[in-house]
């Protein structure tokens, strides 16, 4: 049953991952990535990481991808065109992927990786206990990072307004 679920999820993940890089319309890429991330949440659930599965949906599918889609719709981009340079990049990219796959296929033959994945369960309570004791410093640092990111995003996204004056019926009004 678990094997079957894994195979289905892995197939969908691979196909939608190919979709992300193959789709010419960025919005289609984004929708493929949403499907992909939802399936990764399924993989987390299979691995017994309950909290991460929920966090994956809430953070990735629910917040990050909504932002990406929002920006895509806001910018209203055109479909990417093919050009000659693309094929050179594709050849280079293909070379890089072959090297990666060879490296990993050598790596997974290590002995401890043949054991079954049923050792630990990342329940919400267990995660919380580690986050608030052993990992308290990175946890607080992460909150500072998020605050800095929010401030930076607001500063970057803010348009600089020039003060303009218009005259309506003889009165000067600032807009």
């Amino acid at each position: 049953m678990d094997t079957f679920a894994f195979l289905v999820l892995a197939t969908v993940i691979t196909l939608s991952g190919i979709g992300v890089i193959a789709m010419r319309n960025p919005i289609h890429s984004a929708l493929c990535l949403i499907l992909n991330l939802a399936c990764v949440a399924g993989i987390f659930a299979l691995l017994g990481a309950d909290f991460l599965a929920a966090a994956q949906i809430i953070v990735y599918a629910g917040a990050i991808m909504v932002l990406v889609l929002f920006v895509l719709m806001l910018l209203n981009l055109k479909v990417e065109k093919k050009n000659l340079l693309g094929y050179i990049y594709l050849a280079f990219g293909g070379l890089v992927s072959v090297v990666f796959i060879l490296m990993f296929s050598y790596l997974v033959r290590v002995e401890p990786l043949n054991q079954l994945a049923d050792n630990v369960r990342g329940s919400v309570a267990a995660m919380g206990k580690i986050l608030y004791t052993d990992a308290i410093f990175p946890f607080e640092a992460a909150s500072v990072l998020i605050l800095a990111a929010i401030t930076g995003a607001v500063m970057l996204g803010k348009r600089s307004y020039k003060k303009r004056t218009t005259h309506i019926k003889g009165q000067a009004i600032d807009i």
Partner: protein
């Protein structure tokens, strides 16, 4: 046998969703008429006659249903939607256009899976907990499903292929993201106070003593969650994404027939979901004030279920009344309410209850 019980649970929960959604539709039609001093739907089926004696009581009932507008809102609307032309705008992928309504309905329906609808009972030696999936992170699951409910709206607005739809979708997504923050923090407050994430445990902890109910212990959280719930369902004074006087119908402008009806179904299912959540988290679920059901038998579970549903219907009606009473916000007012009032308020609320919990309250 376990599998059969699971199937029965799913069947019952689906029927509850559809029943509550149709009830909301009817209340929306007739209730809005009452509020606006109109009569509302009262014609279809109101003049049925028959000469056959046996069928007379049936037709008598049908005439009453017709006069109350039930036949109009439940039967005629469905028939109309099914037989209507399914319109797809030009230059739009048919697949995406059909996907959007399902994406709008699916997360809401799935979120019902973790909701307990009645106390545990024993029947034929089987102890049944009326909850489809007894996850230990039930509240997180509902939050996750609520966060992917945006996609239906966004894809719908995008496949509409016109400016009104796109504006509606952008408004809806900005609104839902902004209010999700306050919703998440309100949920964290609730989790801190009850010390569990399982909705069943939360309801059992509240008990029959009204002083232990969530609304008495944390009234501010209730207000925040209720306002956020109204905003998340994109109704009431928060219906900017589909404001009919500015954007035709917002993100579902280009939808007709059954697809349009699916959006409506999703919206009413969401109203019912929030009513259920508010009842379960703050109003003691199936508990009757100061009357303890001994529990365990099927008829006591049924009474508990009916009490639960009565409270849920009350909150459904309350949401619809608010929707028909208050005027729509301006967009900057909406954003100010979300970011400058609800978010700091919920953070302060969280801090307050965290300190209380640390000092040994709410054991």
């Amino acid at each position: 046998m376990e599998f059969v019980i699971l199937l029965i649970k799913i069947f019952v929960v689906l029927n509850i969703i559809l029943g509550l959604a149709s009830l909301c539709t009817w209340i929306e039609r007739k209730g809005s008429a009452l509020i606006q001093d109109r009569i509302g739907a009262n014609r279809a089926g109101a003049f049925f006659e028959t000469d056959i004696l046996i069928l007379k009581p049936v037709f008598w009932g049908l005439r009453i249903m017709g006069a109350l507008g039930l036949i109009n809102t439940l039967l005629c609307d469905a028939v109309k939607a099914i037989t209507k032309e399914d319109f797809v705008p030009e230059g739009v992928s048919q697949f995406m256009h059909s996907l959007a309504p399902f994406m709008a309905v699916f997360p809401v329906f799935v979120a019902y899976a973790v909701i307990p609808i009645a106390p545990e009972f024993t029947l034929f030696d089987y102890t049944i907990r009326p909850q489809v999936a007894a996850l230990d992170a039930g509240v997180l699951f509902i939050l996750a499903m609520g966060s992917i409910a945006v996609y239906g709206v966004m894809i719908a607005g995008w496949t509409g292929n016109n400016k009104f739809s796109l504006l509606g979708a952008l408004r809806a997504s900005a609104q839902m993201i902004s209010y999700e923050l306050s919703m998440g923090i309100a949920f964290v407050t609730i989790i801190i106070v009850y010390g569990t994430m399982d909705l069943y445990q939360m309801i059992q902890q509240q008990g029959t003593n009204v002083l232990h109910w969530g609304v008495v212990q944390q009234p501010l959280t209730f207000i925040i969650l209720f306002v956020v719930g109204m905003a998340e369902t994109k109704r009431g004074p928060f219906d900017l994404p589909e404001s009919e006087s500015e954007l035709v119908a917002g993100y579902f402008t280009e939808y007709s027939g059954m697809k349009f009806l699916l959006f409506w179904l999703g919206e009413f299912a969401e109203i019912a979901l929030f009513a259920i959540l508010v009842t379960a988290l703050f109003f003691g679920g199936w508990h009757i004030p100061y009357y303890e059901l001994s529990g365990g038998t099927w008829w006591e579970a049924l009474i508990g279920h009916l009490v639960f549903m009565a409270k849920v219907v009350f909150f459904c009606i309350l949401q619809i009344v608010i929707r028909w009473t208050l005027p729509r916000f301006r967009y900057d007012q909406l954003m100010n309410l979300g970011w400058k009032m609800l978010l700091p308020l919920s953070l302060a609320n969280l801090l307050f209850y965290a300190v209380l919990k640390l000092n040994g309250f709410f054991t």
